[in-house]
Amino acid sequence: MSDMFGAINSAGSGLTVYRQWLDAISDNIANINTARPTSEAAFQQRWVEAAPTGQPGEAGSGVAVSGISLGDPQGRLVYDPQNPLADKNGYVRMPDIDLGEQMVQMIMAQRAYQANLAVIDRARDAYQQALQIGRQS
């Protein structure tokens, strides 16, 4: 896009990043009870890595997801002999995800998404005000 809407485009790239962060949190919460046998790796927590786009010292280029890193494959061993996946000692491997931490991250991602929406709103208002220059009422 053109440089005319630099603020809107930067905030839009932020929205994409925070949407992906929310996707990752949703994935983590959905898999929080996914048990695996001890012979396999546990579900690994997803972490979204963000990085600024564009050159240093340049404004209006935004942010992008640079990668997804994964949490601990060891998980935690839980004694659950009733589970059909349990080994001979009665243990299964559960993902090492803290639900409270995920909820906190979800609030952060949601608030940041809202902040970017507010930037787009203000930028649009500013551009519309600029169009009023020289207009006789």
Binding site: I8, N9, G12, L15, T16, R19, I120, Q128, L131, R135
Partner: protein, 104 residues
């Protein structure tokens, strides 16, 4: 009370070269961009923005849209660009009417 901006305009007016009669758009000595070309360029980018918005609207209707905000941003941008085009067009018509109303 003196307003520095108005003084600045006065300085700019005095430094403007004197008018030397009408100069056609085909004159090779003309520097800067032709208004018609500028307008054509602007209209082309408005057209592009609206095509992009239309594509996203089709994606939203078919369920292929991954980012809702992309569609809303594209729609906002094409609305703003159209408003800007209309504002420029109104100013151009206004200028033309002012010239036509000039008492000779």
């Amino acid at each position: 009370m003196s307003i520095p901006a108005i003084g600045g305009i006065g300085a700019a007016l005095t430094s403007t070269p004197p008018l030397t009669g009408p100069v056609g758009p085909s004159d090779a000595t003309t520097t800067g961009t032709d208004f018609g070309k500028l307008l054509g360029h602007g209209l082309q980018s408005v057209q592009d923005a609206q095509t992009h918005t239309d594509q996203l609207a089709v994606q939203a209707a078919t369920g292929d849209l991954t980012d809702v905000h992309d569609y809303m941003i594209a729609s906002t941008q094409s609305t703003l660009m159209t408003e800007l085009t209309v504002a420029v067009r109104n100013k151009a018509v206004e200028a033309f009417n002012d010239i036509m109303r000039m008492p000779l």
